[in-house]
Symmetry: C2
Subunit: 418 residues, 2 copies
């Protein structure tokens, strides 16, 4: 494996990933009413073992090798794709954060809190119920040494996930980024994900018998967000006032973004939150707009597709076996939709949102996207769940994600934007 | 080595690389009259085993580990840095190519050809002479099984290198990118590098006894450049006429760039040429300007510094041993400068350039930069040269590179731009 081989393969991967995302994206947007971003996730699954790997296993394996030559671990090429995907995600979440304006939901914070509260509570409770009624007697779904409490907590957390980056992208593609509806959904989605990651930290802490994991993640996360959105925001506004965006300032801001991403990754709440929070702390104005215009093209056009493709490459749909398991998959799917879409709709209605707007928020919050795949990968790697439950949950993630854009498009003309 | 560890380390590397490049760049530009880009190369050497590794070996090794945990090969982190560096370089050379306008040297093509001819001939002959007079009797400089002809050819080729990306960056920083002088230097530099890589292909073909290596590299390279600058250029102009740069077109052009880079890398003349040629084939106009504005910020502000740092990480200055070797290093240095700076100056004067302009071209052509490090790494890896000669040549590369910007700045006010 020389550097030249790695680079040659990487350039072919760029061609395959961008080509597939564009072609499948075009077909999905044109004929299925899907969002470009959802089709990029589907393109990832198609480039992986579930389709391309079935049709031409040798070609697929030489283009996207999963195992190294000795078969002892990951292929370096996969590690490279992972980092490229993460660069795209970090920069993209900074862009999303920079669009995020808390002022737009001032006086609506009660609504955002109750929507995100419901978006956590209902799916979590449904997940716990699903565990105790359906799964606690089943073998082959969870790791042998994992306690009932950990299992139930993990399933609850996995049901809570909202595809925060995907939600952001759908809102962006619909042109709703700066609106109150978009901001409400983004704020609720971000809170939900933060909560789900906190629950995950508790599950991992419990299963590894190390409470520090949970303390760092939750305490550090709250501290970081609070500091960044008060002191950090004020300092940035003061420092950047009257400055123009030259190359040095640009690099400095990129440095800050990666420092924030590093911090949240290090404490265990995932790099996307650091990048998003930093974006949210940026002063709204000309300089931030110029910054977005400089970061966006390569981020969205070259790097972000790798994030959507990367997890698809790791997904195998063929591991759900037996009709009983497919029944469980169906019930999990229904519980997930009822909990998230239903719960958020109810909360939005009770907060005074109109029927269609409440439905729009519920539909967006219901999409699990690749954040779900991430939490599932963590569960699989740490031995909490098996490949079978992993695949059941992947089906749930894909279905809820594919639902989002067409349903949202359907009600979009009736949404009330003010 | 989990994905999270890789990502955490990568984010720290971003902080270290961008931080060091900015601080050392600021000091070098402010107090030493250096170009930002040269200082980024120096920052790379300082972040590597030559300085940071001497001061804090454990910290350096945990931040930039060279060997994997078993010590059997490269650390995955180095492979990631390599690909990040290459992405930066490919996109950057596309930008340089897009600025490259053959029309500016129309009627001056004889001058460009004689300058690049001299820039190849003199250093090459000096290199061959240096080999037969100084080195053919010495042990410990070349691989045991390499013939005299191969050794002399390799040394000649290594003397011919011009730091094409570095030259491009110095011209860019001086604001000379669109001028006739800048274009003349760029054209000569590109031709020189292409020739040096062709000679390298011959050396490798000879040392491996496989003439296909040379045929693919030289024949394929000439075919590619010719086709791209005639048919490719015309097709691009026709296809892009009247189009606006939306996200789909942007991605399509990025695809083309990586396809071109892949092709030239695959035939053995290095990815930079494909990317540069594709840039040169782009129609000059609003669309290309918009494209450059979208690609440049992240390329120059985030990815390119990794190219300059990557090779520095692989450089060890402590391996030149004994005063005799330092004498050889000094003579190689003098021969390199006399051949390149002197030869190009002479050729430019004979083509009718004024004294200062000829000197400016000589100074720019004389900078070896990291292209030299690349050809040296190829020589080292293929067993043509030893670590000792590698380090001697690295000293030559660094000195000729450090000379370029201050000397160029000195004569810059007297340059005649028309």
């Amino acid at each position: 494996m020389t550097d030249l081989d790695l680079m040659l393969r990487f350039m072919l991967q760029v061609l395959a990933v961008l080509g597939a995302c564009k072609v499948i994206g075009y077909l999905g947007v044109r004929f299925l009413g899907q969002a470009q971003v959802t089709m990029e996730m589907v393109a990832g699954v198609m480039l992986g073992p579930s389709l391309f790997g079935l049709l031409a296993p040798e070609v697929q394996n030489s283009l996207f090798p999963l195992k190294n030559e000795l078969g002892t671990g990951k292929h370096p090429s996969m590690m490279i794709l992972y980092i490229i995907a993460q660069i795209g995600l970090v920069l993209y979440m900074f862009l999303v954060g920079a669009e995020f304006d808390l002022n737009l939901i001032k006086g609506k914070s009660k609504a955002a809190l109750s929507i995100s509260g419901a978006g956590i509570l209902f799916p979590f409770v449904f997940g716990v119920i699903a565990y105790y009624t359906l799964m606690s007697g089943q073998k082959g779904l969870f790791g042998e040494n994992v306690s009932d409490t950990s299992r139930a907590l993990y399933l609850g957390a996995a049901m809570c996930i909202t595809a925060f980056p995907m939600l952001a992208r759908i809102i962006y593609e619909a042109g709703f980024t700066g609106t109150r509806l978009g901001t409400l959904a983004l704020g609720s989605g971000a809170t939900d994900d933060a909560a789900a990651w906190s629950i995950l930290a508790v599950v991992l802490a419990q299963s590894k018998g190390d409470p520090k994991i949970a303390i760092f993640a939750i305490g550090g996360g709250i501290l970081f967000v609070t500091l960044m959105l008060t002191l950090g925001k004020a300092s940035l506004a003061k420092f950047l006032k009257g400055k123009t965006l030259d190359q040095t300032l640009f690099t400095f801001i990129i440095l800050l973004v990666f420092a924030g991403a590093w911090f949240t990754d290090a404490i265990g709440v995932y790099a996307v939150f650091g990048a998003f929070t930093l974006g949210a702390a940026m002063p709204k104005g000309e300089l931030t707009k110029a910054l977005q215009a400089k970061i966006e093209p390569l981020t969205v056009g070259l790097f972000l597709p790798f994030f959507f493709v990367y997890s698809g490459l790791n997904t195998k749909l063929s591991s759900i076996q037996g009709s009983e398991m497919w029944v469980i998959a169906l019930i999990v799917l229904i519980a997930a939709i009822a909990g998230k879409l239903g719960g958020c709709y109810l909360a939005a209605r009770l907060s005074g949102e109109k029927h269609t707007n409440a439905l729009g928020i519920g539909i967006l919050m219901n999409s699990r996207g690749l954040m779900e795949l991430i939490i599932l990968n963590v569960g699989l790697k740490s031995g909490v769940i098996t490949t079978q439950l992993f695949s059941i949950m992947v089906v749930m993630a894909i279905v809820t994600t594919l639902m989002a854009a067409p349903l949202f498009k359907l009600i979009k003309p009736k949404l009330i934007l003010e």
